[in-house]
């Protein structure tokens, strides 16, 4: 799963979403670009409700990675 943060997302917003994921046992790979922060979520993310992630402040987009058959 990839979480794209809004340009306007501040550090507090990033910390909130990262805490949520880490406390649930997921590893994350953060990549900070000039305009965007992208958080890659590693682990079995199927059971993370997309709506819960989108509800966090500063989240622009949630991208699920397609499962290979």
């Amino acid at each position: 799963m990839l979480i794209v943060m809004r340009k306007t997302a501040d550090e507090k917003a990033q910390e909130e979403i990262k805490s949520y994921l880490i406390e649930r046992g997921f590893d994350i790979h953060q990549s900070t670009g000039a305009n965007r922060v992208i958080i890659g979520v590693i682990g079995d993310t199927e059971n993370i409700p997309e709506a819960d992630i989108k509800a966090f402040p500063g989240v622009l987009q949630v991208v699920r990675i397609a499962k290979e058959e």
Binding site: E11, K18, S19, Q30
Partner: protein, 91 residues
């Protein structure tokens, strides 16, 4: 200096980086053990922020500060993963 000379130097530096990464990871595991004993959270955003601030302040280039942050984000991501394994015993 030839391209092979430079590549040899890069190879030696990569080996040194590997050693340093693993030394740092060993220390992160020790932190994880202490956090487990004290029931402290793995994620410590203020500590991560201090590392980024210190590393960019000390950065003399040619890597720019954003590149330094990106590199340390990966190092910290992996340290955090090790700490999580240590504190929770899962993968």
């Amino acid at each position: 200096m030839t391209i092979d000379d430079i590549r040899d130097r890069i190879d030696r530096l990569d080996s040194e980086l590997l050693r340093i990464f693993n030394e740092r990871a060993s220390l992160a595991l020790q932190i994880g053990e202490i956090k487990k004993g004290l029931d402290l959270p793995v994620y410590d955003p203020s500590r991560e922020k201090r590392i980024f601030a210190r590393m960019t302040a000390e950065n003399d280039g040619p890597l720019d500060d954003q590149a330094i942050v990106r590199l340390f984000e990966r190092v910290i991501d992996e340290s955090r993963r090790l700490e999580r394994i240590m504190t929770r015993g899962d993968h």
